[in-house]
């Protein structure tokens, strides 16, 4: 799906050497020299991961005026409610159009069926402003054209509801890639920035990727203090409040899993700021510094904002570093956050990396992270879960970052775990959150030392 993303991004990053910033050139060089230093194993076999439909579990809170209608099977409906159903909803924010035998046999017209369902839904929830038709494995295997359906519904519901389409299917997307696809669907609706030339100076900073509200507010205010006044976010808090994009837009990715969205925004003239991701003190400071550089903020001005943050962040991480230092860490693939987490835990918390697994490795978007990992770090792209668990058992790491399907079984084998999904649902970005992020990993180890049953 995005196999050529890296190549395209690299091209996008250096279409003209004149426009390439110093950091982009450095990145190119680093990428070439580093890749050899990080052994990469590519594995295939059973993958113990979520499909992209799971993104609905956090996107419905980020944009409360949106509704997510999955077109799929009972399995899809069951997945989402198993994940989100422990919360009790007075008003549903997502649902599934379950395909029946008539739909598969072609006896029912898919478009008529969708129209009927959407009408029922909007009668119940008239305040919905954006409706996402979310594709699934079954809808893609039988080649239902949801893009066309969305177009048609848009014309019918003009003015009332905007209808978008993206794929959250397991055959196409893994977990957080669902967000990438959802944002990608929103890109064409973003207004164009005023006509500017292709090498327009930076005029607006666009932070891409879901952030916790408080984290977002904090980062925007810090950028303001640095002198970057115009900062917008994608996704917005309200689905109709989409930021503009154009040649003056500078993209700062808050999340590493946004390959397709980043490319689409660049195709609309925006330029990507190369940086590590804002996890931990070092990553967050480098991330903000890269933005300041892109906006030509004087060094002294950004340093004045950053230095106290760095100082405070380090102090907050310190007690957790004492617990984590020297401990061996094994990360199983889940969200593509793994490289950034490994970098933070190794460099700032003193952990040793046994294996860093990721469901998908976008070399271009992770170049800055790879440059910060110690040479020799074993990367693993893809998964053969049983073989990977054999490696876990053989290595007996002090902490395994893994999904909830594996966490309790590993705990029962005496191996400490940190369930990875929590990292997508927690405010972990920015210097101010570095202590909290470290705490997520030190907590299971502290707990093991606390519990006594004799």
């Amino acid at each position: 799906m995005v196999s050529n993303a890296a190549a395209e991004l690299r091209m996008g990053g250096s279409t003209s050497v004149a426009s390439a910033t110093a950091s982009e050139v450095r990145q190119e060089a680093r990428e070439e020299s580093r890749e050899a230093a990080l052994p990469l194993r590519k594995e295939s076999g059973q993958r113990e991961v979520f499909c992209g439909l799971t993104s609905i579990v956090w996107l419905h809170r980020r944009m409360p005026d949106a509704f997510f209608l999955v077109v799929g099977s009972r399995t899809c409906a069951h997945l989402i409610q198993s994940a989100a159903g422990v919360m009790i909803f007075a008003e549903p924010r997502f649902g599934t159009a379950i395909l029946g035998e008539r739909d598969l046999a072609g006896l029912a017209d898919a478009n008529e069926e969708l129209d009927r369902l959407v009408a029922d839904l909007l009668a119940r929830r008239p305040e919905i402003r954006t409706l996402f038709l979310v594709g699934s494995c079954p809808s893609e295997v039988i080649k239902l054209d949801l893009a066309k359906a969305a177009e048609r519904l848009n014309t019918r519901l003009a003015g009332q509801v905007r209808v978008l389409n993206y794929s959250g299917s397991g055959i196409e997307t893994t977990f957080t890639q669902g967000e990438d696809q959802a944002l990608l669907a929103m890109v064409p609706l973003m207004p164009g920035a005023p006509r500017e030339s292709a090498d327009a100076p930076a005029s607006e900073l666009l932070i891409v990727g879901t952030l916790a509200d408080a984290v977002e507010d904090r980062l925007v205010s810090l950028f303001g203090r640095m002198g970057i006044e115009r900062v917008r976010s994608l996704p917005p808090r309200s689905s109709r409040d989409l930021p503009a994009v154009g040649p003056g837009t500078r993209l700062l990715l808050a999340q590493p899993f946004l390959s397709a969205t980043a490319r689409a925004l660049m195709a609309r003239g925006a330029r990507l700021i190369a940086a590590p991701y804002p996890l931990g003190v070092e990553g967050s400071a480098a991330w903000m510094r890269a933005a300041a550089e892109a906006f030509a903020i004087p060094q002294a001005q950004s340093a004045a904002v950053l230095e106290p943050l760095i100082e405070r962040g380090r102090r907050a991480v310190e007690p957790h570093r004492r617990i984590l230092e020297g401990k061996r860490l094994f990360l199983l693939p889940d969200s593509q956050l793994e490289l950034s987490l490994a970098r933070f835990l190794q460099r700032e918390c003193g952990m040793e990396l046994v294996e860093v697994g990721t469901p998908y490795l976008d070399r271009a978007l992770l170049a800055e992270e790879m440059a910060l990992l110690p040479p020799g770090t074993q990367l693993n792209e893809g998964q053969h879960v049983d073989n990977q668990l054999d490696r876990v058992r053989a290595a007996r790491p002090d902490l395994v970052v893994c999904g909830l399907g594996l966490a309790n079984p590993l705990e029962a084998e005496g191996i400490a775990t940190k369930w990875s999904i929590e990292l997508v649902f927690s405010p972990i970005h920015g210097c101010d959150q570095a202590g909290d992020l470290a705490e997520l990993f030190s907590r299971p180890l502290r707990r093991r030392n606390l519990l006594r049953f004799s």
């Binding site: 993958r47 069951h78 007075a90 008003e91 369902l117 049983d386």
Partner: protein, 548 residues
Amino acid sequence: MELTLWTYEGPPHVGALRIAASMQGVHYVLHAPQGDTYADLLFTMIERRDRRPPVTYTTFQARDLGGDTAELVKRTISEAVERFQPEALLVGESCTAELIQDQPGALAAGMDLGGIPMVSLDLPAYSKKENWGAAETFYQLVRQLLKDQLPAPGTPAPSPTRWREEGRRPRVNLLGPSLLGFRCRDDVREVSRLLGAEGIDVSVVAPLEARPGELLRIPTADANVCLYPEVAGPVCSWLERRFGQPVVRTVPIGVGATRAFLAELRQVLGMDEPVDTGEQAGTQPLQGGHELRSRLPWYSRSVDSTYLTGKRVFIFADATHAIAAARVASQELGFQVVGLGSYSRELAREVRAAARELGLEALITDDYLQVERAMAEAMPELVLGTQMERHSAKRLGIPCAVISAPLHVQDVPARHAPQMGWEGANELFDSWVHPLMMGLEEHLIGMFRHDFEFVEGHRSHLGGSPPGGSAPVGSQPAEVADSPQEEPAAPGSTTGPSWDPSGEAELAKIPFFVRGKVRRNTETYAREHGLARIDSEALYAAKAHFSA
């Protein structure tokens, strides 16, 4: 297509997973796309299991679809067999795999699996659901394992009283308990204890914790106890037909049902009725040492429970738990059952019969929205339902207790919490009464409505805020009020009667949990009597009319 906000059951392969994960020594190879491994969490998180469920998924991706997915299936099967060395293998597909038609069962049949029994599962994902999948899997597995023991046609059925001739205690199998069933873990413990006290041994419990080898002993029991018809109904009927084993079909949930269950067991096994010591369960308050009796009868008869009389309760669950709850609610707690329904179409007939006895029309549906509408229509004071009913009950501001799957993590508690037997009845009493307002609070809120803390709908023993806080006092949820399913207005009138301020003010004085019902009754009365405006007088007239 059907619009589904919440589904009562998963797809049928989740039912098959439940059988595999409940048992030991069984492995399941499931042809499914990447992402379908979410089902593992049902076991590791909701059931809090300490091991991975015994299932290997092919987890194909889009790029595999261009290639040879059949080859992927075969590779997965041989790897799984080699790694896990199961005593029996299940092979099947999920909904997406059903569309690409690789026939994994046929592929497995053509492979050398070292002679382990293999069951190829054919579970139509677009027409059947979880419980059906569980029942079908359990049935196919038992059939496959017992095929060498089948008695020749015309063999007389074994005598259910052969235990006497053989000079041993009677023994029965407990069939149906499984993971993700409702409180099965503790029900098994409770029923086993109950039977032990009656002098009856438990032979095989399955599928929960059983090994394939144990299933081979099923025919040696004197009878099968069908604890959960949704899962074990078909297999019990088959065993009855082919092995002549009688089936005990009463489900022992509630005091009366538990006694009926014991009576049926004794009758099936040809046991003598125990000598009646005049100490019938619950006819007198408990004194220590009677651990085999339930406290429910005394708790329910004690004066503290008088205010429960006639409380309106709406019940929706799987068939087994819905029918049992209706009996307990109406006969043992003195509630008035105002709605009864189930999503178990396979057992719809039984639910309809139970509803008829209560003068109700059963609601048989798997459409959550239809259940929500029926609930709003009935305006109950308590909802006994599934995890899904908690959503609608929250929306309508009605107290709710969960009595059946689908469940979530809070319904797999650490404490012993059966639904069956004497202790089960204790659990029912506590958990159903808990969400209701306590008696004294109910009285005082009815008397004094101007309090700054104990306001409308506040249930202080639950902490937190009043239920239905989002709905303005005395109003129904907008969607309910405007829904086309609203009772039709009287012929000839296009709009119903309207409330004038004095009527509204009077309505606001009605305790919140019956206010919905009073509003509806008063409007019905006004329509029947041709009143266009409802004032306070009309409300009192209606009150007298309906209590007459």
